[in-house]
Symmetry: C2
């Protein structure tokens, strides 16, 4: 069955040959990370941990799932031990500041390790993943006292964190939440309410769980402007960490889900639980936005990371499964049939997996570099592009990842549908990435509405200019591809303008065009990424085989994937009219 | 949770207003079926059985799955009882000849009932479904003696049937099978071998299971021309059905699958099991082809039938889930938020489900009418179009169905990922339809290679001419849509010619274009189907609401789905060159 092999060659190519990350680390003043040997050593070590520790417990974890008994959640065999090893080896603290016990390495490097965890075992990666979000919110918005009390244990991984947003009646629309926060006499708050879909909300991997909870103060205005953020620990360590008190935080159920079955998705109930305000009253959503970009990027990474695992397994299968002869003549005369990889339709699926996965990886690392610039240098220009590209990362990369896992199943045919081959698990695991951290429909609205139209297209224009400028500078041999990038970049801007015009008459034109516009921009952006990688590989010291493979993948992408923009363009231009049906019309 | 409601209004519209089925039944000499009241009564009864008996055990069946103990397979609670009721009510024998104990009604009418079973409970529908395939093969190829001994019990449903094709090392390439048939002294054969992926291979719903098994005789030539078909009963009823003897047919395992978990997918072992030759020696594949068209059509029907269930559930959810306000102004001022159906992106998904499902239903019924003509009138012209459209039905309708079930999940957001909402089950159930009965890649090769190029485009030209001619005759108000159909029909023919030219130089051009060409032809064909439905609805006696809904759906399809051919065209034209990578290039 598939054992994950980290694609370290491609990772290092993207990091060094394309993105020149060590120089970037130098510029950030992160001397340690500016050492290429160190970066590669970390990648290799993470690869080892992912393939040797996380990968073997991926399929068993799916089969067992999490169990709940009397409010206690048990994770699958090996999960706790792997987490312990992960923390002890310092992976949890890789990109956290040294003053908090972290290793002080850059975020972008930690993203490479997160990709590997997600490939090897997405369910498992949810537990440390959520903690990072909590750390981020606390670092930016908590008081020094709270930071001192909670950050070190979160950074070391001794405690884990959660994000408690969703309630039974509200997910995308957080303005509707009902969870209440009443001021207590000691300056803390009593939190009461019920939250659902809480990843890592309860489990057996850490001593304490620190919940970040959205709730409403008594005087809260209606809607999203009346939401505040609270830190609510499962166990209170009130007096110098010596007395442990239960904080009336209970887990009443875990969800039975399509996939990521080894990730505990909990119903968490707060009954006058002690909570501490994070940031200003009624400013909870702002505090959450701090970590949103990274959480959304991480979700997109999950999408293509699972696809990478699928790709490896389907490629192995295609090379070994003998079935029928090639239409263009026998390819393996010594065997009873040719391996199915000789059939163009199988190659089509394998190359689609490869092109989408490599394209998304490049995009993710590029965007992680922007996060670095924002986090460590407060680079506003990088921040603008980061904000623009975040919904693409989340939505496009999850769509691409899900599609790729389905190609993986299809390459295996009937065996792809059987659990023990693990390909179907990847489809089920990947499916959630299109939904959580804001559905892809919400991402599309964010992209087109908030990031483009509200900004009058400034960020988009900046990005399209960057794409086109970079395309103009590629090697002569890549000019035909570069011309396509320039052409579509121009068209993308025109389409955005067109939508902007229509939206002035009817705001529903934005919703009608949003998803297809995001996908259009996504294909274009990944085309840019692969073009630049192809250009970088030409002048790199990579092996001829690597060079040929990268050029082939890029050529495939431009011939066989990028043309999808043609359809998206037509759908964008078809407008909202055809969607204006009466509710009743859908009933028949 | 979703209870299936049969879309009888649309079914009856397609049957009567568009396809004029009762007149067709009259022409077939099937007087009874020529009665519209009777046809509608059967549809209503089947709707009742599906929603009241099959639908309630669909989700529980998925949760329980089948169990195996000591070679005995237990189906989920209620399955056996539903099957008994199904047989007793005569559903099993609906379209079988009266001389075999059937009701002598047309195949096309039974397909409507099969759609309903598949929507309500795909797993359950596998058990009677496989039996119909076995009946078909026996009717056409078995000796009178075997027919007399086996057909009545298969028709009544007292016994069920299977198709035993796949072996561990061969699925698509049946030429590689190893199961052996050795002549016995009494004229029968001893069958020895192991078959996998045998749906309904073992279960607790019938007294006996009649396996149709592909095996090789001792003198068999290599490859697919050396395969023979045998009837191998689980239990031998040798002496006037009085002595029952175990026939050494054992089930050693059932598969743990992604979906259709209540359908027992068995490993079946034959150890010198007594078998009877069906048809001529070495002619087994031909005997299987007899039932292939219907089996492939039925698989496509499963695809859109599951999508219909998903569509109903997601529509209900979208009308009731309150979340955010419409961008174009508040729509439900009395509520805390608008129902999500007001958002264009949600309508986009719901309308995509509706258009694909209705389009596929129309296509399926149209093709079932062709099956009638072939079966009851040996109409060669209809047979040519049936052969052409069969791979489209199987592949396009399964792709469309799977896509639609994913829209269903997406409409529900996080809840779509939770088992108890049942939407995720539909994705898992639908996923198999892209694989079994010949993967969609195999269908594409069959379509382009065997049905078009080998035939020098005759059948395709005939079909495209029919499409274009019908388009020319629609109501004036539909002319803009009709022009699109004519345009794409012309382009489709040109694309086929182009591939034919390239294939003369390199046969791999066929494989490289096949999948996209099938999808192109599928979108065009469904466009034709919806255009003709729109035309039929205008002059029908349907309600104004129904008319508006059908016209809206058709307009949506043309604006929002048909443009996908633009991308498929570009991919077809990109050719094989970009797929010609070394195996090694995929490794990096």
């Amino acid at each position: 069955m598939p054992q994950y092999r980290a694609p370290t060659e491609d990772m290092q190519f993207v990091m060094h040959d394309w993105l020149n990350m060590t120089q970037h680390y130098q510029e950030l003043g992160m001397e340690e990370a500016a050492d290429k040997e160190l970066v590669n050593a970390i990648i290799e070590e993470s690869a080892k941990f992912s393939s040797e520790v996380l990968s073997p417990i991926n399929y068993p974890g799916d089969q067992t799932g999490c169990k709940i008994e009397n409010g206690k959640v048990t994770t699958p065999e090996g999960f706790k031990e792997a987490y312990k090893q992960y923390c002890e080896s310092g992976w949890s603290a890789l990109a956290e500041p040294q003053e908090l016990g972290g290793q002080g390495l850059p975020y972008s490097l930690s993203l490479v390790t997160a990709e590997m965890s997600s490939s090897a075992n997405t369910s498992w990666s949810m537990y440390p993943g959520l903690t990072h979000g909590a750390i981020s919110a606390l670092k930016h918005h908590a008081t020094d006292e709270l930071k001192a009390a909670y950050l070190p244990q979160l950074v070391s991984g001794v405690w884990t964190g959660t994000m408690c947003l969703t309630e039974p009646h509200c997910g995308s629309d957080l303005g509707l939440i009902k969870t209440k926060a009443e001021p207590a006499e000691d300056g803390s708050y009593k939190i009461t309410g019920s939250k659902i879909f809480i990843s890592a909300g309860e489990h057996d991997m850490s001593d304490n769980i620190i919940h970040l909870v959205l709730a409403k103060l008594p005087d809260a205005p209606d809607g999203t402007k009346g939401i505040s953020l609270f830190l609510v620990p499962k166990i209170l360590n009130t007096e110098n960490n010596t007395t442990e008190t239960d904080n009336a935080v209970t887990c009443s159920a875990i969800e039975h889900k399509m996939g990521i079955k080894a990730s505990a998705t909990c119903v968490i109930n707060f009954e006058e639980s002690k909570g501490y305000l994070i940031g200003q009253p009624h400013n909870g959503l702002m505090c959450m936005f701090t970590m949103m970009n990274k959480a959304r990027l991480a979700t997109g990474v999950q999408g293509y990371a699972i696809a990478e695992l699928s790709r490896q397994a389907s490629l192995d299968y295609a090379k070994n499964r003998l079935q029928m002869r090639s239409l263009s003549g026998v390819k393996a005369p010594d065997k009873p049939a040719d391996p199915i990889i000789v059939h163009p339709d199988v190659k089509r699926m394998l190359l689609t997996q490869k092109a989408l996965t490599e394209g998304c990886r490049g995009l993710a690392y590029y965007v992680a570099k922007l996060v670095d610039k924002v986090e460590y240098q407060n680079d506003l220009e990088a921040g603008r592009i980061l904000d623009l590209l975040t919904p693409i990362c989340k939505a496009f990369m999850s769509e691409a990842g899900f599609e790729s896992t389905n190609h993986g199943v299809q390459v295996l045919g009937g065996h792809g549908y059987i659990a023990e081959w693990e390909l179907e698990q990847q489809v089920r695991d990947a499916r959630i990435t299109l939904i959580y951290e804001g559905t892809n429909g919400i991402q599309a609205l964010d992209f087109l509405g908030r990031k483009i139209l509200r900004d009058q297209g400034k960020a988009l224009t900046q990005w399209l200019t960057e794409i086109a400028t970079a395309a103009q500078q590629v090697d002569e041999s890549l000019k035909p591809l570069a011309e396509k990038v320039m052409w579509y970049a121009k068209e993308c801007g025109e389409l955005a303008q067109g939508i902007g015009m229509s939206a002035q008459k009817d705001m529903d034109e934005v919703g009608a065009a949003a998803f297809d516009f995001l996908m259009y921009a996504g294909y274009l952006t990944v085309g840019h990424v692969l073009l630049q990688q192809a250009n970088a590989v030409l002048s790199s010291q990579q092996s001829d085989d690597f060079k040929q493979s990268k050029l082939q993948t890029t050529a495939f992408y431009f011939a066989r994937i990028l043309p999808r923009v043609k359809t998206h363009k037509a759908l964008i231009q078809s407008g909202n009219a055809v969607l204006e049906c009466r509710e009743f019309d859908l009933d028949i």
